[in-house]
């Protein structure tokens, strides 16, 4: 069964990223954005019979059941998607697959997280105090018996900065890539964010010098090419082809999808230069019967600048080794010759947990629906959205279009 034209996204809602949220629970946050998405689609909750959510902090289990109860849904299909930053994109094709298989007709896809203010982490100069505050036995948590806790964490391979820096070093060894070329991605995306009132950095400008003068966190990556964690949420309503006419919004059709999941530890990735990124993208384009040159918007996962460059190349938007020159010679803004991450990307829009990855899908949907406001890409018919989880561990590519 091909997923091409089986279903379309007809409703979108977001809670704009912000640094912290107040006391709202994750469940209430997700419920709220779900209600907004159903309203956007003009679809009543009684018409929603599918539910996709991700693991939710504070809920140890029974997550879809709890969300269904809180939303008053009678789901005939409910599932957890656990693909890190690829979760949102992964939900879209799963919703279409469930619809195509007759398991449901209209599916909610929910992502997001709250974020509470914590005590600022100690800087290097406060090293002794930091070590005293975090005795060795507190990390990794005792219940974490994973191979990564055993063979990665003791070396400082904790969080994502180190992993993406390793990718950046390896890429720069294989090919030419300058710091300024990486910075160009962040700068053009910021110009997009300046046209998006929902972006967390909407009101702040950014230059290549700003990026290059920011602190080196993990060589070669600097502070301003690293995504900032935020709070927020995003929800989509995906519905069957024969229900699209009932929706209040124009459809953004799912035309092709691809997925690849290969490793957990970056040290065990099959090949740092030929990863699941390309596998997922090629599958998505092949299913849609189009190629990278046919799409008018690339909405590519950007936890770090280097991730955008790797994806441009592996997804086939440019040749191997040419990503640096490609971003340097193209205008990546919504008005440019290669519109990329027109919402600002997560780097400038904000990364609200799994809603960060979903933002690449919601932006592609809004652009295809013609609802992107002043940052609207003109005459857009096809968009490519890419999700990425872990340290390039989980990949999902989607081709979305205005016509079935």
């Amino acid at each position: 069964m091909s997923l091409r034209g089986v279903a379309a996204v007809v409703g979108v809602a977001e809670r704009a990223p912000q640094r912290y949220t107040a006391d709202e629970t994750n469940l209430d946050l997700l419920s709220g954005v779900a209600i907004d998405a159903m309203a956007d689609a003009g679809i009543d909750r009684t018409q929603v019979d599918g539910l996709l959510v991700h693991p939710i902090g504070g809920l140890p289990g029974f997550v879809p059941a709890t969300v269904a109860e809180f939303l008053g849904l009678r789901s005939r299909f409910a599932e957890i998607v656990d693909l890190g930053g690829a979760t949102g994109a992964g939900m879209v094709w799963r919703a279409a697959a469930a619809i195509g298989a007759g398991m449901c007709t209209t599916c909610l896809c929910l992502t997001g997280t709250r974020r509470r203010r914590r005590r600022a982490s100690a800087a290097a100069s406060d090293g002794e105090r930091a070590v005293a505050m975090h005795p060795p036995r507190s990390m990794p948590p005792k219940r974490d018996r994973s191979a990564q806790a055993e063979f990665d964490a003791p070396y400082g391979m904790i969080g994502a900065n180190v992993g993406y820096a390793l990718l950046a070093t390896r890429y720069a060894h294989e090919y030419d890539l300058s710091d300024a070329q990486r910075a160009k991605v962040a700068v053009d995306q910021r110009r997009n964010a300046n046209a998006n009132p929902a972006a967390i950095f909407h009101d702040q400008s950014l230059t290549i010098d700003d990026v290059l003068e920011s602190e080196v966190i993990c060589e070669p990556l600097r502070m301003l090419e690293i995504v900032m964690p935020a709070a927020g949420a995003a929800a989509l309503v995906v519905t069957a082809a024969d229900r699209v006419v009932d929706a209040a919004q124009r459809p953004a059709w799912l035309l092709g999808a691809g997925e690849a999941v290969t490793h957990s530890s970056l040290a065990q990735a099959p090949d740092l230069g030929d990863t699941g990124i390309g596998v997922a993208a090629r599958a998505a384009f092949s299913a849609a019967g189009v190629g990278p040159k046919d799409v008018g918007l690339a909405s590519l996962y950007d936890c770090y600048t280097i991730m955008v460059l790797l994806t441009l190349e592996e997804a086939g938007f440019c040749k191997p080794g040419e990503a640096g020159a490609f971003v340097e010679s193209n205008d990546l803004t919504y008005a440019g010759d290669f519109p990329l991450n027109t919402h600002g990307g997560q780097l400038s829009f904000g990364q609200a947990g799994m809603a960060g990855g979903m933002s690449h899908v919601t932006e592609a949907v809004r652009q295809i629906q013609g609802r992107a406001g002043t940052r609207q890409v003109t005459d857009l018919e096809l968009a490519y959205a890419h999700g990425n989880g872990g340290i390039i561990a989980e990949q999902v590519g989607l081709v979305l279009g205005s016509h079935r």
């Binding site: 100690a122 060795p136 974490d144 806790a149 063979f151 003791p154 400082g156 602190e215």
Partner: protein
């Protein structure tokens, strides 16, 4: 000695850490297909066999990639900055996450020849395999 997150050793991985205490790097090797899976596990990812035996490796390899962390990935590393985290590819073909020690960060290079060495973890009886450049290897 250095402060580290303490590896949660299991019965299956104990031989790896025991070997490290003796100053040896030992990994599993599949008796059926010859693959060397890492991290250690019960079943060979190449052929599914459960006959994985512990065999020493040379400890020599090359830096596949590296980064120099100037902000601690976790506060426990705050006194060890800059911290060099690397992926090393052993002569035998497997890759592991590690640190490069005894090397000026400026001298680091992808492809650099390195050799295993062993570093005790503070306040434990554990020893962590790390790597250091092989001098004069060029």
């Amino acid at each position: 000695m250095s402060a580290r997150p303490i590896p949660p050793v299991s019965a299956l991985t104990e031989p790896y850490w025991d070997a490290a205490r003796r100053g040896e790097l030992t990994v599993q090797r599949c008796e059926r297909c010859g693959q060397r899976p890492f991290p250690p596990r019960a079943h060979c990812p190449g052929c599914g066999a459960s006959s994985l035996s512990w065999t020493p490796v040379s400890g020599r390899g090359t830096v596949h990639s590296y980064t120099v962390a100037y902000r601690a990935p976790h506060p426990i590393f705050a006194l060890q900055l800059p911290l060099v985290v690397a992926i090393v590819e052993l002569e035998e073909g497997l890759r592991m996450m590690t640190n490069i020690v005894g090397c000026d960060p400026e001298e680091l290079e992808v492809g650099m020849a390195v050799d295993a060495c062993f570093e005790p973890i503070d306040d434990t009886d554990m020893v962590l395999p790390v790597f250091t450049p092989i001098r004069g290897a060029d």
